[in-house]
């Protein structure tokens, strides 16, 4: 919902038209069900004959959409799903992502931790694709900065019984712990981590999703956790303040990182189409235009990489009083490697 609000808001701000043309919306609920990804994408492409397919949230479903996009050549904008393949091995001229790759936030985390003097770390995550990809980013940046990963711990997604792993962390006595969790599991991990008495002994770091949308549920246990991400609600720039006020007025709720990604998707689409004067049939020119846009996003300005993923600043944030306070920029204009993408 937040993503859709964001997209519509960006387009409405520009008169509700794209490159001078009216828009017709089609909507399909993908149910975050990977097995239906291909079918749902086909419905939009073949039945509704859409020119642009915006979606999706879930990485597994994205793999289905990716296939349809590659086969049909329809323009696909990804507002969230961070699966690597979409802008790596399976990248395509007609697929653009406006969010992040799963390893992008953690790719900025390693150096920040070593800078704080934490040379030995334990990594913990769910054992599934997004967790593995987040680890890739962490491993890369942490070892490059001179840190050592003492142990890599994992549990099957979406299990939330962390007690045995917390015991192991305590016995390993690392300088710090880095992790990737999200949603309800993240809230529980933060609380269990504090309840096990580890909070004040071994600092906890993570990909920003650890502390997105869960701070109310996690309570004071989350205080002091440091994360890296491409956005923060509390980002103190005129652009972000203006966006947050406008969004809150339109939708009667506070925007989150997903709303920003949706908003940027709308911006990209409207700027790209404006550049080709609404001529959506001229695909070469349109893709070229989309590739070269600079998006003036609430998260800060960003551009497209050769593999069609944002090149963006990653912020360092610390949880204070149920808020992700920005305490610095962990990495300037960070790009995903795009490894395996033929366009990169």
């Amino acid at each position: 919902v937040a993503i859709e609000n964001g997209v519509r808001m960006a387009i409405n701000e520009r008169g509700g038209k794209l490159g001078g043309r009216d828009i017709e919306w089609f909507k399909v609920d993908d149910e975050s069900e990977p097995s239906k990804g291909v079918e749902n994408a086909n419905r939009l492409v073949q039945r509704d004959k859409v020119d642009v397919l915006i979606g999706t949230v879930h990485s597994g479903v994205q793999m289905g959409i990716q296939r349809v996009a590659r086969e049909s050549g329809v323009l696909n904008l990804i507002p969230n799903a961070g699966v690597h393949a979409a802008t790596r091995a399976l990248c395509a001229p007609n697929v653009f992502r406006t969010s992040f790759t799963n390893s992008q936030p953690t790719l900025a985390l390693g150096k920040a931790m070593v800078d704080k003097g934490h040379k030995k770390a334990v990594w913990i995550t769910w054992k599934y694709a997004a967790g593995d990809e987040a680890f890739e980013g962490f491993k890369d940046s942490y070892t490059k900065a001179g840190g050592t990963i003492v142990k890599e711990l994992g549990l099957p997604f979406p299990n939330v019984e962390f007690q045995a792993l917390l015991t192991e962390i305590a016995s390993l006595k690392p300088d710090a712990v880095a992790c990737f969790f999200a949603g309800g599991g993240a809230a529980k991990f933060i609380r269990d981590y504090a309840a096990a008495g580890l909070k004040d002994k071994i600092p906890l770091y993570g990909s920003g999703f650890l502390t997105e949308g869960v701070l109310d549920a996690a309570g004071p246990a989350a205080d002091g956790i440091i994360t890296t991400m491409h956005y923060s609600d509390s980002l103190d720039t005129p652009r972000n303040r203006q966006f947050r006020t406008a969004y809150a007025t339109s939708f009667k709720m506070q925007p989150d990182v997903y709303a920003v990604q949706g908003y940027d998707t709308g911006l990209l689409l409207s700027q790209g189409l404006a550049a080709v004067k609404g001529d959506i049939g001229n695909k070469q020119a349109l893709y070229k235009a989309l590739e070269t846009q600079t998006i003036d996003s609430p998260r800060g300005k960003w551009t497209m990489s050769k593999s069609h993923n944002p090149v963006q600043d990653i912020y360092l944030r610390r949880v204070e009083n149920k808020e992700n306070k920005v305490i610095g920029v962990a990495a300037k204009a960070l790009a995903d490697s795009g490894a395996g993408c033929k366009m990169a």
Binding site: A164, E168, A170, K201, D216
Partner: protein, 168 residues
């Protein structure tokens, strides 16, 4: 792993096992005594969790929430029994599976409509919020130990009552 950590992991596993037992006990009781396969058992568990969160936020007290939640849960259970389960006692287990499987979807959607999809948590009551230090950097939450106690009490209660039933 040294011996102390071995013992702690042992404690972890026993404690987790007890928790799973508590969850499973309800399922077994319903199947054992009523002869109903209830696939929606997890949904009832979810209902309990949401009631605890919702009422605790309303009353500002977990004790009241537990009492209030129990009353609502019983009322809800009776209602479902009258409306649905009653008609399925004599039917095939597969029919019951179909019914309760459908209930999962109904509950899930209702929850989404009523309470939304945000992440929530209930604070551990003040009296149980402490942790007991075990090693130099690890402590054990009192709450988990108390829960284990509750589970053991439940297990003893089940054993006693089923013995008595067997004699009667």
């Amino acid at each position: 792993m040294d011996f102390a950590n071995f013992l702690i992991q042992l404690l972890n596993s026993v404690q987790y096992g007890l928790l799973l037992f508590m969850l499973a006990a309800g399922l077994t009781l319903i199947f054992g005594i009523m002869g109903v396969v209830n696939l929606a058992h997890g949904s009832f568990y979810m209902l309990g969790a949401y009631l605890a969160w919702f009422l605790a936020a309303r009353f500002g007290s977990l004790t009241l929430a537990i009492l209030g939640g129990a009353v609502i849960a019983v009322a809800f259970g009776l209602l479902l029994e009258q409306l649905l389960f009653r008609h399925f006692y004599q039917r095939d287990h597969l029919d019951q599976v179909l019914l309760t499987f459908g209930l999962i979807y109904v509950f899930e959607e209702l929850r989404s409509i009523l309470w939304g999809d945000e992440v929530h948590g209930v604070d551990v009551p003040q009296a149980l919020a402490a942790s007991i230090p075990l090693t130099d950097n690890l402590s054990y939450p009192v709450y988990r130990l108390v829960m284990s106690g509750v589970c053991i009490a439940l297990a003893l209660g089940c054993t006693c009552s089923s013995r008595r039933r067997a004699w009667a």
